[in-house]
């Protein structure tokens, strides 16, 4: 369909250019982060941090740990974090799946629970780095 038939104007191009550039910047900036870094999972409920867990085999007691917070079952592993079950109506937190990168988060808005991944330290500071 031709542009004049749709009644397109110059302002449309400006709106698209700004939004696409903003979107590209938001996607590209996190890629600058260290991908192999050791992560910590920060669990927040009702606006307060209730626990911070380092996600590494050396710091965790088992390969997989679970926490139950405000009706959300949070599964923590060195791979990442996911919400396995929740008693909220929409269960969007469960559908989010597993998050694995620093800066990512899972939220359960009805239960007011947020799990955030943060970078704890660079990968070369872990035990693997000094093993040989």
């Amino acid at each position: 369909m031709k542009a004049e038939r749709l009644g397109l104007r110059a302002g449309d191009g400006v709106i698209y250019a700004v939004l696409v550039l903003l979107c590209a910047a938001l996607f590209l900036l996190p890629l600058l982060r260290d991908d192999d870094a050791v992560l910590t999972a920060q669990i927040m409920a009702d606006g307060e941090v209730i626990e911070t867990v380092e996600l590494s085999l050396s710091a965790m007691q088992a390969f997989e740990e679970t926490r139950e917070v405000n009706g959300c079952v949070i599964v923590l592993s060195p791979e990442g974090v996911c919400v396995a079950d929740a008693d909220c109506p929409d269960r969007l937190c469960v559908k989010t799946g597993m998050i694995t990168r620093a800066g990512e988060a899972i939220a359960c808005v009805p239960n007011r629970v947020v799990v955030t991944l943060r970078q704890a330290r660079a990968a070369d500071e872990t035990y693997d780095g000094v093993a040989y």
């Binding site: 749709l6 009644g7 397109l8 302002g11 939004l19 009702d46 929409d90 969007l92 007011r112």
Partner: protein, 186 residues
């Protein structure tokens, strides 16, 4: 906003209000949460009606539809959904209000549709930050913006095709707001 026949406007707004509720209901029940999409992302079909009402009857009508949609979400899907609908709807309608006089001059419904979709998602993101008290949720912003670009283009294109045809029917010719857009359209 003055019309020769207020009853006609009220009746039409009622019809459009019902249409908006039907579209959001269909979207919530028939379309499952698609994989690979940001959680909670919706097509925003009912936003077509909001922008359409803004274009035909002026900004107050768009705010009325937004309030109706939020009330519907509150009653049928609970407090969280109601607040999400209200925050997204309000921000998107404010953007619509700001751009309304420019439709047909410097922007078309395509640009307005995309910007309104982005504003809708931003409003919901800010509300979820407010409800959970965690700024970490802002990292969802990029997925929501990408999604808004796609859905906004879809709804914007629909409006670009729909509005001239609706105006051509002449049913809205005694509504000042619609008349002005019709004259600017060519």
């Amino acid at each position: 906003m003055k019309t020769k026949n207020p009853a006609q406007k009220i009746a039409l707004l009622g019809v459009f209000g019902a249409l908006a509720l039907t579209l959001s209901f269909l979207e919530n029940t028939l379309l499952p949460d698609l994989p690979l999409l940001p959680p909670g992302a919706k097509l925003g079909l009912s936003n077509i009606v909001t922008v359409l009402c803004g274009g035909l009857f002026g900004a107050p009508a768009a705010f009325a539809i937004t309030a109706l949609k939020a009330l519907f979400a509150l009653v049928t899907r609970g407090m969280t959904a109601g607040l999400m609908s209200l925050s997204g709807g309000l921000l998107s309608t404010v953007v619509l209000w700001a751009l309304l006089k420019k439709i047909g001059r410097t922007v078309s419904y395509l640009g307005v549709g995309v910007l309104c979709a982005a504003a809708h998602n931003l409003g919901q993101l800010l509300m979820s930050v407010l409800l959970t008290g965690s700024l970490a949720l802002l990292s969802y912003g990029k997925y929501l913006l990408l999604f808004a670009l796609a859905t906004g283009t879809l709804t914007g294109l629909m409006l670009c095709v729909l509005v001239p045809r609706l105006l051509q029917t002449g049913r809205f010719s005694n509504i000042n707001e619609a008349k002005r857009i019709f004259e600017n359209w060519r």
